[in-house]
Subunit: 197 residues, 2 copies
DNA sequence: GCCGTTGATGTCAGCGCCTGTCATCAGGAT
DNA sequence: ATCCTGATGACAGGCGCTGACATCAACGGC
């Protein structure tokens, strides 16, 4: 027989999300989370670096997905052509956990310090994508910019995916494709204008 | 005669930056900052929301510059054509305070929580730019994307501006122009590829 | 000139986040 | 049987940050 109840980290993460939704992030103490999970505050901090990080367990999966997808792009694909499908695949990952992702998003949207942490995760995702592009021989500056552009499309798509309130919501992956298409439209308009002038 | 020494906020901000550089952000307490400024800890928190915010006093100036510049763009300018010059002007603002900006950047680069705050300010800048674009009649999605793209160019330029270590450094505004040019190159390559396929 | 108001600052108490350190103790290895 | 390992608990303490109240020079109306 196991000495302790299994999956302490998972129990903590679930208790935290539930309490953040019930009472709000700031009005929830780490001691309360630990108590609901049947553990102590000290143990919480052995599993998660801080009170915010408990909501960001899945971000490494997004990062892996994007990096692998960039690596799997055809050799002759340009930076943007490698990043686009990668963020679409990342969007599909969120579709698989739609309910959890949306619950989590409502909590994050209600608290500035959580938004900061989310931005840091997006920045890490951007940096990982840029590194994957450099690994394909892309120069530093275009790699940074292509990565940032792709993540911007992902983020804009995420905002709209979360905001929609339909019975049959449009999948996140589709939102990402729309954002990428809008991006194409933007640059095409700019290029046309430059050509005219 | 004034009852107190003038410019309490400025004294606090200078003391904070100096101490963050001397001892590091985490190893500096708010009480130490206040003491150096000849004030108390409680007064520090009357001027700045938290220990990090004291480094981000100038961000509202960047935001105003970008918003005004977008508003001043020709009526027929596309979203990207309005955002590009705006972030170049924002870059010029940093050039005017080069030494301060670089000292500040080294502190921020050394601490994760400061990077989070910086990302939040960049997100606020992005949102302000998007709002300015919507005010020009641009739809929500392209406004978000154009704003994010411009800020991405600004951020990439900033990273390279800070990293350079030359006697006669390239101005930030020039770095921003290069980043915008690289963006054009990226999208042009992608469009060419799309045309071939 | 008196006096009430104003506003920047000080003082104090306290909560919650987070960390370092040591103790505990069931299960596995030798 | 003994030792070791690793997850957990217990405790103390520092620091960030907040609320509440006190202080007191300057200012303005009278």
């Amino acid at each position: 027989m196991a000495r302790w109840e299994p999956d302490a980290g998972g129990r903590l993460a679930r208790a935290a999300l539930d309490l953040y939704i019930e009472h709000g992030f700031e009005r929830t103490t780490v001691a309360e989370i630990a108590e609901r999970a049947g553990l102590t505050e000290r143990t919480f901090f052995r599993y998660f670096a801080d009170k915010r990080e408990v909501l960001f367990d899945g971000s490494s999966l997004l990062e892996r997905t994007v990096v692998e997808s960039i690596g799997a792009a055809p050799d002759d694909a340009g930076p943007l052509d490698a990043v686009g499908p990668a963020v679409v695949r990342a969007g599909a990952v969120l579709d698989e956990r739609r309910e959890h992702a949306r619950r989590r998003a409502t909590v994050v949207a209600a608290n500035q310090s959580l938004q900061e942490r989310e931005l840091l995760k997006m920045a890490a995702l951007t940096e990982a994508a840029a590194e994957a592009l450099r690994g394909r021989g892309v120069d530093d500056l275009p790699a940074r910019l292509a990565a940032a552009t792709g993540v911007a499309a992902f983020s804009a798509a995420f905002a709209r995916w979360v905001a929609q309130d339909a019975a049959a919501p449009t999948p996140m992956a589709e939102h990402v494709r729309e954002a990428l298409a809008a991006l194409d439209g933007l640059t095409a308009a700019s290029a046309r204008r430059a050509a005219v002038v």
